[in-house]
Structure formats: structure tokens, C-alpha cells
């Protein structure tokens, strides 16, 4: 355990108008397994990284032909033209480790020392590339002529970085906080419960907490709980509108997973299992994930593998749920009659496969949809995902990337930019403030909730 120095204070449940919550410098975290020199630590990190490898990752490691085209797809390269941001370059020390430890010629590589051992210094150099300048958005994976899923390899590389104790401060700290408190941003169960009580009262809406039995378990992200609490209200409103039997559970409400983002597999698993156990405990048939990107990846696609068996419930992103309800005719909505454009959250759309649902919902809202270019699977990342928005030293780089999004949206001439991920939304808000831009990003969920036609009694 590490002693954090300052500034992680207990949050007052009613402090709702705070700027983006940040953690000031916690100390470096190192894996504490006795006293050992750096070199051995790195070797253990490499070995544990190798442990994660499977056939697919190995095939990818064998397939790169150094064409460099992945750089053309990456927003960080696009705005800097700095070759070090070439996506596959992020994997360089790990490719070396793979060839030395795990590839078919590993014995020969070691015997003839054809690939040098990775050093701590090299990994420290790489920290910036693997964390600050990668949102794991997967655009590179979509470009690669060899079909290498580079983004998945970066996630795997983060496991090794974590074991070497080389995760950027902020990510390490919030991940540790999530493990300790249940939320990376201070939305402890108590804070969450208190907020819900206050919001229910303020907005005259029923917010169910800890029902012993429910068909639908809803989760929220700490970003929404702390910064966009209207989303909590919106969730409750929509659930009521469609007549769902739903609940929040204090033993499993946090959808974000900083274990996944930092590369801490143990914490990732722990956080995922909380939601799963909570769903099992209340017999939920569906778990609805909030407007969050990596939450979808963590539970929808990685959850069952963490659990060790197929999940006994369906997992849906709130946008998918809304689309399903719209198709079933259960959403009565006022038509907005405005023009809108949709920013595709990478983990939900490109990586997650929920490409059309947000658009179905927008159609139900009666907006004039003007797709930006590129869009859907090839849309540009907002630049804040994968934990990047939390890393302060990356702010300048992220702002450069944000210009791409502004240009895209301006080009559509749409009045309403809409998205369905709170982290993207947070990134847009930060970008808007930085550039004094006149366009504000809207939440799809909140747009729906704000335009529900309720029966007046």
C-alpha cells in the first residue's frame, strides 16, 4: 500500500458543482514483493506479461510488417506528425519480450541473445506512449493491413507496466481508490446513496436502491455521479417511463473500471465481479450499463471471462436499451426538430458493436441527423478515453487532438452534438472550456429523459 500525500478528501454529498475532480500527486506505486533490484522487477513484469499471452496476441506479434500505416489512423500522430506515436511502436519492448520469452524461436533468441532484455529505463520511456498517448480507441486496428488488433495489445502491455509499477500517477491512484473505496472519484456507496436521495427529492423522481429483487440492474459511472448527476435522474425517469422493474445496488453500482485502464487485472476483475454478484443477488435479467465507453468493454465483452462462465443475464448499454424500447414503441418522445450530429464513443461503437442503436434513438427523437466525416466505425476518438483525460501531463496533447473533433462538428453545421459516453462528454466539456468553443456536447440519455412525454395526471 502506498501513502497518498494530500488532496483526496472526503466529498460532501451535496458538492455538486465542482470542476473536474482530480487527484494531486500520489506517490509511485510499486509492486511490493520484497526487496529486489529494478532489473529483476522488470523481468518479473515481463514474465507476468508473457503469462497473459495467448495464441491471438502471439499471431499479432508475429505479423507486423513495419508498414507504418497505423500511424495514419492515430489521432495523436495526426496532430503532431511525431513518429513516436506510431501505434505499433508502443508495443516495441513487448514485442522484444514476446520474442525472447514466448515465441517459437525464443530458445534461440535467448541462447544467442538476439533480442536484448527489456530494461526499466526503456519501460519508463514507454510509459508516455502506452498511457498518455493511447486511448485504446482501435482506429489503428481498423487500418492495419495485416489485421492486427493493436489496441488490444496496448491493453495487454499495460498489465506489464502495472506489474513494473510504471503506471502514471493519476491512473494508479484512482484505480487504487476504486479498489479501496468502491469508486475512483470518491463516489463511495454512502456518497452515492446520499446523492440519490437528494436527487430523488430535488427532481421528484423515484430512485430505487437495493431492491432485493429486480429485473433490471442499472449501473452508473462515477463521472456521472460526481459531475453529471442529471444522468442519474435521467436513468430513473426513463426506467419509470418504460415501466421497468429496476434498481441500483450499493454492492454493485460502479460501472467504470480503472483497473482495466491502468492495467491492473486483479482490480479489474474485482470491480467487474461486484456488478455481477450484485446482479445475481437481485436476480436481474438485464444489466444496463450507463453512458460510459470502457464500462461496456469491461462488462459486455470481458465480464464473462472474468467470471469464468457465461453471465446469467444480458448486458446492454443504455443506448441499446433505449433503442430497443423505441423499437418496441415504448418511448413516447417529443420531437426535437433540431439538427444533430453524433460523436461515436470508441468502446461502444467501433470496438463494442453498438453502431446503430444511438442513431435509432436520435431518429426517435426526431432530429435531423447529420453524420460527421468520418463517422461510425471510422470516427475520430475524442482523445480522452483509455484514461488519458485523467493524466494531466497529457492535457496539451489531448487539446491538440480535440481540434479534430471541433472541425468535424463544425463541418456538419449541426446544432446539437450528441454522444453516449460520459468520459467523451467530460473531454468535450474540457475542450470547450479550453478553446472557448460555442458548442456543448449533449448526452443522448439526458436528451431522451428531457423529452419524454409523460401522462399528466
Amino acid at each position: 500500500m502506498t501513502g497518498t500525500t494530500t488532496a483526496t478528501r472526503e466529498l460532501d454529498p451535496l458538492e455538486l458543482d465542482k470542476p473536474r475532480v482530480s487527484i494531486s500527486k500520489p506517490e509511485h506505486r510499486f509492486d511490493t514483493q520484497g526487496e529486489m533490484p529494478d532489473t529483476e522487477r522488470v523481468e518479473r513484469a515481463m514474465k507476468s506479461f508473457v503469462r497473459d499471452f495467448g495464441r491471438t496476441a502471439a499471431v499479432y506479434m508475429e505479423s507486423c510488417i513495419h508498414c507504418g500505416m497505423c500511424a495514419e489512423a492515430c489521432h495523436f500522430y495526426e496532430v503532431t506528425k511525431d513518429p513516436k506515436y506510431t501505434p505499433i511502436w508502443k508495443l516495441e519492448p513487448f514485442k522484444q519480450a514476446y520474442k525472447r520469452e514466448y515465441g517459437p524461436f525464443a530458445t534461440v533468441y535467448r541462447a544467442l541473445n538476439l533480442k536484448p532484455k527489456v530494461t526499466v529505463e526503456r519501460l519508463q520511456e514507454w510509459q508516455h506512449l502506452i498511457y498518455d498517448s493511447c486511448t485504446v480507441c482501435g482506429r489503428c486496428s481498423l487500418m492495419c493491413p495485416m489485421g492486427i488488433d493493436i489496441a488490444s495489445l496496448v491493453s495487454q502491455a499495460r498489465h506489464g507496466m502495472f506489474k513494473a509499477g510504471l503506471v502514471p500517477h493519476e491512473l494508479a491512484a484512482v484505480s487504487e481508490r476504486a479498489h479501496r473505496e468502491g469508486s475512483p472519484l470518491g463516489a463511495t456507496p454512502k456518497v452515492f446513496a446520499d446523492r440519490c436521495e437528494w436527487l430523488a427529492d430535488e427532481h421528484e423522481v423515484e430512485i430505487h436502491i437495493d431492491k432485493p429483487q429486480a429485473d433490471v440492474l442499472c449501473a452508473m459511472s462515477s463521472i456521472e455521479i460526481m459531475k453529471y448527476p442529471e444522468s442519474v435522474v435521467a436513468t430513473a425517469r426513463v426506467m419509470k417511463h418504460v415501466g421497468a422493474d429496476w434498481t441500483f445496488r450499493l454492492d454493485g453500482y460502479e460501472a467504470t473500471n480503472f483497473g482495466l485502464l491502468a492495467g491492473d487485472s486483479a482490480t479489474q476483475k474485482e470491480l467487474t465481479l461486484k456488478i455481477i454478484h450484485a446482479a445475481v443477488a437481485c436476480g436481474a435479467k438485464v444489466v444496463i450499463l450507463p453512458e460510459c465507453g470502457h464500462a461496456y468493454t469491461a462488462l459486455r465483452w470481458m465480464g464473462a471471462n472474468m467470471y469464468g462462465k457465461p453471465l446469467p443475464f444480458k448486458v446492454m448499454h443504455i443506448a441499446e436499451f433505449l433503442a430497443e424500447q423505441a423499437r418496441a414503441g415504448k418511448l413516447r418522445l417529443r420531437k426535437l426538430g433540431k439538427s444533430a450530429t453524433f460523436h461515436d464513443p470508441c468502446q461502444v461503437v467501433r470496438r463494442g458493436g453498438a453502431i446503430e442503436p444511438p442513431r435509432e434513438v436520435l431518429q426517435a427523437l426526431g432530429v435531423e441527423l447529420r453524420e460527421m466525416y468520418p463517422t461510425k466505425g471510422t470516427n475520430w476518438c475524442c482523445g480522452g478515453g483509455g484514461g488519458v483525460v485523467a493524466i494531466h501531463r497529457a492535457d496539451q496533447l489531448r487539446h491538440k487532438v480535440f481540434k479534430i473533433k471541433m472541425e468535424q462538428i463544425e463541418a456538419t453545421g449541426a446544432e446539437l452534438p450528441v454522444t453516449t459516453c460520459a468520459n467523451c462528454r467530460q473531454t468535450f466539456d474540457d475542450g470547450q472550456a479550453h478553446f472557448k468553443w460555442d458548442k456543448t456536447m449533449h448526452s443522448l440519455l439526458e436528451l431522451v429523459a428531457d423529452n419524454l412525454i409523460e401522462d399528466e395526471i
Partner: protein, 229 residues
């Protein structure tokens, strides 16, 4: 034993042996590694349909075409020219037809006729020249582009060399370059092709095989999720 006899005899034997051993070692050594079953509920159950990525990824999406068109066009130009010259030049057709003689002890001619039709020598010469030009362009790009210069290593340059050598020496032999004795030019050409075979399993040339595994894996994983292909 003359250089040509060596090139057509023991060198050919050994290079084929090394090629086969190396390719199988590397392929099986990778394909037999552990896989974990994905327990998540698929969006699309017929994940095998994702194998279409093998064909699909052969050309970038138009959104990506801006900075990649040069590499794609040069790459295809070289590959097509090389493969056409390799498989449709009369001396090569005869060379390959001979596999059967070695393996089955009988001449391909007596089995199916004389191999397969060939392209006229003038076309093959043109194709080879174009391939060589494309390869040179690709090398220049690798040396000049900051991205490629950063990520390139020995494998990239050596693989380029062993690919260029048979093309260049082949044209030299065909043209009886420099008044050198034809047997020497031919021997050098055959030896350069053997060098290619020997290097093949150990460098990036293996992408000829791994491309199917990589694109196929990603295709199936993404298809299962309904993710963008």
C-alpha cells in the same frame, strides 16, 4: 562441382529443407499456443463470417486512404509483378513443373501436360522492371518517412534485399549482363532465390502465411462482437 551445379543441386535441396523446417516450426509454434474460449454472449453467433476480413482488409477503408495510398499501390505493384514473373516465366514454369519429378519420380508432363501457360518474355521483362522500380520506391520511402525510419530494423532491410536480389539477378541473367558467363549469372540468380527461401521463415516474409491467421483472428473476434471490420 561448378557453381551452377551447386546452386541447382545441394543448395536447392538444403534451402528447401530449411524453408520447410523453419515455416512449420514458426507457424505451429504460434498456432499451437494457448487460446482461451470467449465466454461473453456474442452479438453475432456465426463468428466464422468474420473470416471475410481476410479479403476485406486487402484495401484500406476510404477514410484511411489519404496517407496510405502510396504504400498500398507500391506494395501491390511490387507483389503482383513479382508473382507474375515468378510463376509465368517459361524457365520458372519448367522449374516448378519439376517438383513432381522429384517428389513422385515422374514428370509433370506425363501427368497433366507441360505445367501451365506462360507469359511472353517481353511482358515478364516489363513486369520485372516495374517490380524492381516499385521495390526501389518502397525502400526510398522507408528511408525517408519518419515513421518508417523509426520502426524499421535489420529484418526490414534484409528482407528487402533478399527480395530484390532474385529480381535483379534474374534480369541480369536474362540480359547476359556484362558479358559474364551465362552459367555464373544463372547460378547467382538461383542462389539468390535460395537465400530468399532460407531467410523466409525467420523474418517478416512470413507475413505471407501469418496474414491469414492475423486477419482471420481479428475478423472472427470482431464479427462476434459486431464491431467494425
Amino acid at each position: 562441382m561448378s557453381l551452377l551445379d551447386f546452386a541447382r543441386g545441394p543448395a536447392l535441396q538444403w534451402s528447401i529443407v530449411i524453408f520447410l523446417i523453419g515455416v512449420l516450426w514458426r507457424l505451429l509454434g504460434v498456432l499451437l499456443l494457448r487460446t482461451r474460449k470467449d465466454l461473453s454472449e456474442p452479438r453475432n453467433a456465426a463468428a466464422w463470417k468474420g473470416l471475410r476480413l481476410i479479403a476485406l482488409r486487402s484495401w484500406p477503408r476510404k477514410e484511411f486512404l489519404g496517407g496510405t495510398a502510396f504504400g498500398e499501390v507500391m506494395g501491390y505493384t511490387f507483389h503482383l509483378g513479382f508473382l507474375l514473373a515468378l510463376f509465368f516465366f517459361v524457365p520458372h514454369v519448367l522449374f516448378f513443373a519439376d517438383i513432381f519429378r522429384g517428389l513422385l519420380g515422374t514428370d509433370l508432363r506425363s501427368l497433366v501436360g507441360f505445367g501451365w501457360p506462360a507469359l511472353p518474355n517481353s511482358i515478364v521483362t516489363l513486369l520485372s522492371a516495374i517490380s524492381i522500380a516499385a521495390l526501389v520506391a518502397v525502400l526510398i520511402h522507408r528511408l525517408v518517412s519518419p515513421v518508417k525510419r523509426l520502426i524499421s530494423n535489420f529484418d526490414d532491410y534484409f528482407s528487402w534485399f533478399v527480395t530484390m536480389a532474385p529480381l535483379a539477378t534474374g534480369m541480369a541473367a536474362f540480359a547476359h549482363l556484362g558479358g559474364w558467363p551465362y552459367e555464373r549469372l544463372l547460378a547467382v540468380h538461383i542462389l539468390s532465390a535460395e537465400l530468399l527461401l532460407v531467410w523466409f521463415p525467420f523474418g517478416k516474409l512470413m507475413h505471407a502465411f501469418t496474414i491469414f491467421a492475423a486477419r482471420g483472428s481479428t475478423g472472427m473476434i470482431f464479427e462476434r462482437k459486431g464491431a467494425s471490420l
